[in-house]
């Protein structure tokens, strides 16, 4: 027992020794599009706060503004600056791969955060850190199944077409629903482009088209609340179960009022801290799995009190 503890202690000492020998680490991050939505804005401030709290870390914070060419330029810049690690929130899961390969060749470990890159690029990255969107879709399907007691007909409002998160959530939802709840029929899916007003319009058309809708699954709460608005306008909100993902403050409040069944709690603070920690683990020489998912639990009215109201 003593031996084991001693061994563990010496490993800890060794690893701290190496950290202090090499540190402080300079970590560069290039983000997707800060400021365009609340999640990314909160992510950035949480990332900066986490880095601030760790005296062993120095950060270079860049933002691609949603532009893939600019992001590639930023990765090249970070390679030139010889940072110790690069964290990327990909603007496009395919187009950034050549730049990631360059960083890999230059011996700089790359951590991809939040949104995955294409299969072909996985061999060049040290790790991915982010939410498991397929699992999130599956969890939403489970909630839908519970809420409807395994019977009913529903519609889906998905995120931006072509965006990985949107596709993974829809895929996870549809697959789990079919397997768990064959009695629940998915009537139709239309994209709401992460936009509340657009989702509201789609839902209005669904309400015209279908006389009976028992449930709505929206790719995020912003769109889910848009669908709720539409149903309220048509006087049919009471007969419909609303389930979303990425719990927003408006979704949280709607759950509290009993108008919205449930969502998936995904904190940008957890997301940012997990990304930084993954990069530090890689730099510390630890064995880091390729895929690192942080917890994104279900949230419903019964357990609402266990969660803080989202800041976005």
């Amino acid at each position: 027992m003593f031996k084991k503890t001693a061994l563990a202690a010496s490993i800890v000492m060794m690893s701290t020794a190496t950290v202090y020998a090499e540190g402080p680490y300079r970590i560069g991050i290039t983000q997707n599009n800060v400021g365009v939505d609340s999640y990314q804005t909160t992510y950035e401030s949480a990332f900066e706060a986490a880095a601030e709290a760790n005296e062993n870390v120095e950060i270079v914070v860049l933002d691609a503004g949603g532009d893939v060419a600019r992001q590639i330029g930023q990765i090249n810049n970070l390679i030139q600056q010889r940072v110790d690690a690069i964290i990327i929130w990909p603007t496009n899961g395919q187009a950034v791969i050549p730049a990631i390969r360059q960083a890999h060749k230059a011996g700089i470990p790359v951590v991809v955060t939040n949104s995955k890159i294409a299969e072909a690029g996985l061999e060049y990255i040290a790790a991915f850190s982010g939410p498991d969107n397929v699992q999130q879709g599956a969890s939403s399907a489970e909630m839908m199944c519970d809420a409807l007691d395994g019977e009913g007909q529903i519609v889906q409002i998905s995120g931006q077409p072509g965006y990985t998160t949107a596709m993974e959530r829809a895929g996870g939802f549809e697959e789990r629903l079919a397997e768990l709840c064959p009695g629940v029929e998915l009537l139709e899916t239309q994209p709401g482009n992460w936009n509340r007003e657009r989702a509201q319009r789609v839902m209005e058309d669904f309400l015209t088209k279908y006389d009976r809708i028992d449930g709505v699954y929206a790719g995020d709460d912003n769109m889910g609340v848009g669908a709720l608005n539409a149903a309220k306008g048509a006087g049919r909100a009471d007969e419909i179960v609303f389930i979303g993902a990425t719990n927003f403050a408006v979704g949280y409040d709607a759950i509290e009022r009993g108008e919205y069944y449930g969502s998936i709690y995904q904190s940008p603070v957890d997301d940012a801290e997990a990304a930084l920690q993954t990069a530090l683990d890689v730099l510390g020489g630890q064995e880091v799995p390729k895929m690192n998912f942080f917890e994104t639990p279900k949230i419903t009215a019964e357990i609402l009190g266990e969660f803080d109201r989202p800041v976005f």
Binding site: D37, Q200, D205
Partner: protein, 315 residues
């Protein structure tokens, strides 16, 4: 027959309605028609203003960002300074940005495409600075009369539709029956001749951007009230939808011709196409393709018709 070909776009509209109604029984139901017109009214309200700008011989591509700006502003300020002040301040600042557009294009004589394209980005930047990237929401959604503009009804007709109709009628009357309207047509049709005949072109162009901004502010009122919240980029892409409606209606992008009435029809066609395709269950990519194919078709038909008319008058 000549009447029919002159009203080509209207015939096209009615024909489309009949075709869609074969495929979907709900399409011509009263509630669906109301839904579509209400959905189209935000684009429609903006299109009324932009039509005036286009008749005056210029373009306005900044309306999408301006809509984001005005909506975020009015929603954010609603809880902070109360609905009345929020609405007044929003109108004032929106008109101020319209005045900047108008000054640069009317008085500095800069190219309207470049100026409003630049303003499209600049205003979006302004929105992000203002909101810090956060969504804005109205906290007490049940208890505010602000809901009237987007969700209310007067005599059984949705308020957005009434606003759209009222604006369209007023602006149409101004454009057709007042000296001011005729001066805008003159400036857009032949600026040189207009200046030589004593029209103050600078002021005319300047004023069209105020009208456009005023319409955007009205649209923001409807949008903010309908959604009771706003994303930073809520108006993104509206500039193209507005242009599409105007072109579909048959107002010439070259200026000096067109009417609000045509724009109303164009915007409604756009709304009914998108609604009809969705009711028929087509996926979104088909909707995109069909919408733009129809727009290009409409422009071509319009052009072919004009060419034919030119040829017949010459021969």
């Amino acid at each position: 027959m000549s009447f029919l070909s002159a009203q080509g776009i209207l015939v096209f509209f009615l024909l489309g309605m009949v075709v869609f109604s074969f495929f979907s029984e709900q399409f011509l139901s009263q509630s669906n028609i109301m839904t579509v017109v209400r959905q189209a009214s935000i684009i429609g309200i903006i299109a009324v203003g932009v039509t005036v700008v286009i008749i005056g011989g210029n373009l306005d591509l900044s309306v999408g960002s301006l809509l984001s700006f005005s909506t975020v502003l009015v929603v954010d300020l609603h809880d902070k300074i109360g609905p009345v002040n929020a609405i007044l301040l929003m109108f004032a600042l929106t008109l101020l940005i319209g005045a900047v557009n108008g000054f640069l294009i009317g008085f500095m004589r800069l190219n309207s495409l470049i100026v409003t394209l630049a303003m499209l980005s600049a205003i979006q930047g302004l929105v992000l600075i203002y909101s810090g990237g956060q969504n804005v929401d109205i906290a007490n959604q049940q208890g505010t009369w602000f809901a009237f503009f987007g969700r209310g009804y007067v005599a059984g007709i949705a308020v957005p539709i009434l606003l759209f109709g009222l604006l369209a009628i007023v602006v149409q009357v101004v454009m057709s029956y007042t000296g001011y309207g005729r001066r805008i047509f003159a400036v857009g049709g032949n600026p040189m001749a207009a200046v030589y005949s004593g029209i103050r072109k600078n002021w005319c162009v300047f004023s069209t951007y105020l009208i456009s901004a005023f319409c955007v502010a009205c649209a923001a009122l409807v949008l903010g009230s309908r959604v009771m919240g706003s994303q930073n980029n809520v108006g993104q892409g509206y500039e193209l939808l507005v242009l599409a409606g105007i072109i579909l209606g048959g107002t010439s992008l070259l200026g000096g011709a067109g009417s609000i009435w045509k724009t109303v029809i164009g915007v409604l066609i756009l709304g009914f196409i998108q609604n009809g395709l969705l009711l028929m269950g087509y996926p979104y990519y088909i909707q995109w393709i069909v919408t733009w194919v129809i727009i290009i078709l409409a422009v071509w038909l319009d052009l072919a018709n004009k060419r034919k008319r030119l040829l017949t008058t010459h021969s």
